[in-house]
């Protein structure tokens, strides 16, 4: 379930503990909301049961030129 704007405001307040003005919190809110939406999509992505042959254990190609 998507996080409500009130919950996101609380998250911002908890994380930055009064370092941002109310206006700054409101400006930040859509950015955090966007991140939360991505997080929900990531959680829904079917990674379980993934064929291990499709996972790169060494993911940085610079290590294996």
């Amino acid at each position: 379930m998507p996080a409500s704007d009130d919950l996101i405001r609380q998250l911002i307040e908890a994380r930055f503990a009064g370092k941002l003005s109310p206006e700054e919190v409101e400006t930040l809110l859509p950015y955090v909301r966007r991140g939360q939406a991505t997080s929900e999509r990531l959680a829904a992505f079917p990674l379980e049961g993934l064929d291990p042959r499709q996972v790169a254990y060494i993911s940085d190609k610079r290590l294996t030129p």
């Binding site: 998250l11 994380r15 997080s39 959680a43 990674l47």
Partner: protein
């Protein structure tokens, strides 16, 4: 305006070697070119004229003694303002670093000077290299030499505008998402994002551990880019991401053409926003490469449709160290979007990063499988030509994008290039046409890791039948 400033590096380098022209003459001409054009462009906000002329005199003295360091010997060049030069201010485009004088040379500056090049000064860039317009910078906006009401792209916008307008033969940019290829495309020049690890990042600021950032050349011609790669690529133990690999000669096989190469036009993902005039130019370029003897096929890369999830795997890393600045010195950020993206990165969690990294590895497998028998991928560099500096809504294939909304500017300026940062593959942008408004359009060619020479070879073949570099109105 001195016509020598627009010569190919191979030609002007030979004139320098044979002393038909001097480095002092060229550097003086470049300084005059900056003086004549930069009020319109703002591409070269830091110019070290006295130091450059002294180094040009030294370059001429070496030539007089028969010491020739190579094709860049005596040539005026630029570097983006996030690259350290000893004794010079390095601002990363931010007022926070207005007084930040670096006390060492970046590896790429050492290599340029080792090859005899004369670094004139610093090229303008987007604040913190974290956006793609070059509007917000401590030095003010950079303007596109094709139409100064339009953006240069970025973040290496000053580099692209400088070489397009003859202020320098080459400029070194950096690219974490698009920052070499995007402004090269918008300004009608050539920009290479090399395979990660080939060009040392020692002295690139901020010194992040972001594995998707590279340094690379922007120049007017593919051959100029290749000759610069010959000078700047190579292992450097000071850069933990540097790769010790067989040394390639980037310019040596440039003229071998594309006959027999298999080039895949990627038909999904890259066209959802792309304007018809851009798509048509790219289609024509694919046809031209087929006429040159390449086998051109069409493919889809299904995992790219999950790109927004993959991108989140490296969303926060290079912003993490800027978080304190975004909190404590927020009023000194010029571009609100950058500050708020940095602040939002504090909410990225480890589970999400691991999930997105696994999805990235699925994309990597798909592309690796595809490129077993495919030499190059072909895409547009950008969905649209450079937009107006004062634009809020930018038209795309269907509808428009608000470039001031979260994610808006990235959708326009980085979306088609950033997958190849995530994949660490070499990618180049070459001019492939012009919009109805007369603005450049770029073609992106992508190769296998460490096959930068093949990317350059194909780009060179196309350049000879495509529009190539053309002088923008500001220097006609």
């Amino acid at each position: 305006m001195n016509e020598l400033l627009f010569e190919p590096i191979s030609s002007i380098g030979e004139q320098l070697r044979t002393r038909a022209v001097s480095s002092v003459e060229l550097v003086t001409a470049a300084l005059e070119q900056v003086a004549a054009t930069d009020a319109q462009l703002n591409a070269f906000p830091v110019v070290k004229a006295e130091e450059a002329l002294a180094r040009a005199e030294a370059a001429d003295a070496e030539l007089a003694q028969g010491r020739w360091r190579g094709p860049l010997h005596g040539l005026p060049v630029g570097v983006k303002d996030n690259i350290a030069v000893e004794g010079w201010v390095t601002t990363c485009g931010s007022p926070i670093l207005a007084e930040h004088v670096t006390d060492f040379d970046a590896a790429v500056v050492e290599r340029l000077r080792g090859a005899g090049a004369v670094v004139l000064g610093k090229n303008n860039m987007h604040e913190w290299a974290l956006a793609g317009s070059c509007i917000q910078s401590i030095f003010g906006s950079t303007h596109n030499p094709w139409n100064t009401d339009h953006i240069t792209g970025g973040s290496s916008g000053g580099s692209a505008a400088a070489v397009a307008s003859g202020q320098a033969f080459v400029s070194i940019g950096t690219d974490a998402r698009a920052s070499i290829r995007n402004p090269a495309s918008y300004c009608g020049v050539v920009g290479l994002k090399p395979t990660h690890g080939l060009v040392s990042r020692f002295g690139e600021l901020p010194p992040t551990s972001s594995w998707y950032m590279t340094l690379g050349p922007i120049a007017r011609r593919v051959e100029d880019v290749a000759l610069t790669m010959d000078a700047i690529a190579g292992y450097d133990s000071r850069d933990p991401s540097s790769v010790e690999t067989e040394r390639l000669e980037y310019a040596a096989r440039l003229e071998e053409g594309v006959r027999g190469l298999r080039i895949a036009v990627v038909t999904n993902y890259f066209y959802s926003d792309t304007l018809p005039e851009v798509a048509e130019s790219v289609r024509a370029a694919a046809g031209a490469l087929a006429n040159l003897g390449a086998e051109v096929v069409e493919v889809e890369i299904g995992m790219l449709e999950h790109w927004p999830l993959i991108e989140s795997s490296f969303e926060g890393e290079n912003k993490g160290w800027l978080l304190d600045l975004a909190l404590e010195r927020g009023e000194e950020f010029l571009h609100d979007d950058i500050r708020y993206r940095i602040l939002a990165s504090a909410f990225t969690n480890t589970v999400d990063t691991m999930r997105s990294t696994r999805i990235l590895s699925m994309l990597r497998h798909e592309v690796q499988d595809l490129m077993r028998d495919t030499d190059l991928l072909l895409t547009p560099t950008n969905s649209t030509p450079a937009y107006r500096t004062d634009a809020r809504d930018v038209a795309v294939r269907e509808g428009s994008v608000d470039v001031e909304a979260p994610g808006g500017q990235g959708r326009i300026t980085t979306r088609l290039t950033v997958p190849f940062n995530a994949l660490a593959l070499p990618a180049i942008s070459v001019p492939c046409g012009f919009s109805a408004e007369g603005l450049p359009i770029g073609l992106q060619l992508v190769g296998r890791a460490f096959e930068d020479d093949l990317v350059l070879r194909a780009a060179r073949a196309y350049e000879q039948v495509g529009p190539g570099y053309q002088r923008p109105p500001v220097v006609r």
